[in-house]
């Protein structure tokens, strides 16, 4: 088992590095399209006008490209901080009580088992049990759990959850997921800002300039505006597509670290049973959590729609797989099946 998971580990890491690069490239290219495309449409729409009134804002594309590049760089660099800040997490520096001390110990143990440096530990003040990991590299990783998780889970279960999170850290899922969360956040923010500008622009001089748009410019304009509107949706669909399979893999890695798949199965059952939404973890970071924080019922079924839309695989399936592993292990070791 270790041989196979270890071999695929490098492939996983490579794939995640590659995908992060692609993601950032697409983001920057999207801005380039908004800039150069917008400029091109503007030029086309005024092409029939006398030369003095033709518009060609040549620098607009480069400005947008620059903005896209700076935003992507900023999102990549500050992504982990932003995600943690958005959840209101507080770092555990000196454990305040016995439970926090236990959390710190468990994280240290799992870091040893995973062979990664000890991540920084954060607690999200939310009564619903959930956990996530973030960071750009195993050397600068963060693990956050909610207060609810600490209260709900016993030592073994907490260990299993942290093992799952460190699985994400070790195979560099965190880099891709954090970058994605930061970029989705940036797109949403810009959309909210620009939709206001568009709205005010339409009321203002929109009617005055009913210029004769050619059919090409018209189509381009529609596509251009659509990409403004659809960008956040696409980004979120991407988050969905990117995160689902990873949960199975992280479950398996967590089980490999703890050698106790049944503890993770128990933890997931407990988390599932208290299916209230984790209000602190908003939609932007939903794909990073161990269980869907939105409390959507989609996770409960295994239909085609659920497969397309849920950020997380069905909990029942994950638990069943983990129990299968656990029983196989018990059988090998000659223990009694509970």
């Amino acid at each position: 088992v270790t041989e196979e998971t270890a071999l695929t580990l490098f492939q996983q890491q490579d794939a995640n590095r590659r995908r992060t690069v692609w993601l950032i490239l697409c983001f920057v290219l999207f801005f380039a399209w908004l800039g150069f495309g917008g400029d091109y449409i503007y030029a086309l729409s005024t092409a029939h006008a006398p030369p003095a009134q033709q518009h060609h804002v040549w620098w607009f594309g480069f400005v947008m490209l620059g903005i896209g590049g700076v935003l992507a760089w900023y999102a990549y660099r500050t992504g982990p901080e932003k995600v943690l800040w958005a959840t209101g997490a507080e770092e555990v520096i000196e454990p305040a009580d016995a439970r926090e001390k236990q959390l710190v110990n468990v994280v240290e143990e799992m870091a040893i088992a995973a062979g990664v440096p000890r991540p920084r530990i954060w607690i999200v003040p939310d009564p619903d049990p959930n956990a996530f990991a973030t960071g750009n590299a195993p050397e600068h990783a963060h693990v956050a759990v909610t207060r609810g998780l600490i209260d709900l889970c016993d030592r073994d279960e907490l260990q299993a959850v942290i093992g799952h999170e460190l699985g994400h850290v070790k195979n560099l899922d965190v880099r891709l997921m954090t970058t994605l969360a930061a970029l989705v956040g940036a797109v949403l923010l810009i959309r909210n800002g620009t939709s206001r500008i568009f709205a005010s622009g339409r009321n203002g001089d929109g009617r005055g300039r009913r210029s004769n748009l050619g059919p090409l410019a018209g189509i381009l304009l529609v596509v251009w505006i659509l990409s403004w509107i659809l960008a956040p949706l696409i980004a979120q669909l991407l988050a969905v597509a990117v995160s689902r399979k990873r949960e199975y893999l992280a479950d398996a890695m967590g089980a490999q670290f703890t050698r106790n798949p049944l503890a993770l199965a128990r933890a997931l059952e407990k988390i599932e049973a208290s299916g209230a939404p984790t209000t602190r973890l908003r939609s932007g970071a939903a794909h990073m959590c161990i269980a869907d924080p939105l409390g959507s019922r989609l996770g409960r079924q295994d239909g085609r729609l659920a497969d397309v839309l849920a950020t997380h695989p069905p909990m029942a399936k994950r638990i069943a797989i983990l129990k299968g592993m656990g029983y196989a292990q018990l059988k090998r070791e000659g223990g009694a099946i509970p």
């Binding site: 270890a6 110990n105 040893i112 088992a113 995973a114």
Partner: protein, 194 residues
């Protein structure tokens, strides 16, 4: 034409040899690093034990033997560890003995509710559990990495490069002496022994 094919084949083979060699070297270093990690955790455990023993000594006059066993096992382990990483067998034996002594101490602590009631002991128990887990997980990581390294150097195409890359079988850290872990039965009924 055939010269080209030969050349391409040669390049492929050379690239493969380089990749296999580097893979083995990387695994070797990972194995060594994992071994160092065990060492770090063992040192931590050795440092923790005197504090632990001092904390329970006052309350546990009646369990002198158990405490003595822990202290002796600890000192023995420290001595063997000073010998360096060559003595893997002795180190792992001494550490297993220490693990056994510690788990007996834990069981004994469980058995005295008035001892358990002190918050201090609760904390110490958590620390001890964590320390034992850390040692166990460091060992697990070492064994996993070493197994991977051993398998790699024995499997067919890579085995051709193994000698050249100075790959040698890494010894696994074994858990021996299961008898050490068996919990002793303590008779508290004060009946005379027959």
């Amino acid at each position: 034409m055939s010269a080209w094919i030969l050349l391409v084949l040669l390049v492929v083979v050379v690239l493969w040899v380089v990749a296999a060699y580097n893979g083995l070297v990387s695994l070797k270093n990972q194995t060594l690093n994992a071994f160092k990690q065990i060492d770090v955790q063992l040192k931590r455990r050795h440092d923790l034990i005197p504090n632990l023993v001092n904390a329970v000594r006052g309350a546990m006059d009646f369990e002198k033997d158990t405490l003595e066993a822990v202290i002796q096992a600890r000192n023995q382990a420290v001595n063997v560890n000073a010998a360096g990483p060559e003595a893997v067998k002795q180190i792992s034996h001494a550490e297993n003995v220490l693990s056994g002594a510690l788990s007996r101490l834990m069981v004994v602590v469980e058995r005295y509710p008035q001892l358990k009631a002190t918050a201090n002991i609760g904390q110490l128990q958590e620390e001890l559990t964590s320390t034992e887990n850390k040692v166990a997980f460091a060992r697990q990581l070492y064994n996993d990495t070493a197994t991977q390294y051993n398998t790699k150097q024995q499997q067919f195409p890579t085995s051709l490069v193994a000698g050249w890359a100075h790959a040698e079988r890494a010894a696994l850290w074994e858990i021996e002496d299961t008898a050490e872990r068996v919990v002793p039965r303590v008779d508290l009924s004060m009946k005379p022994k027959t």
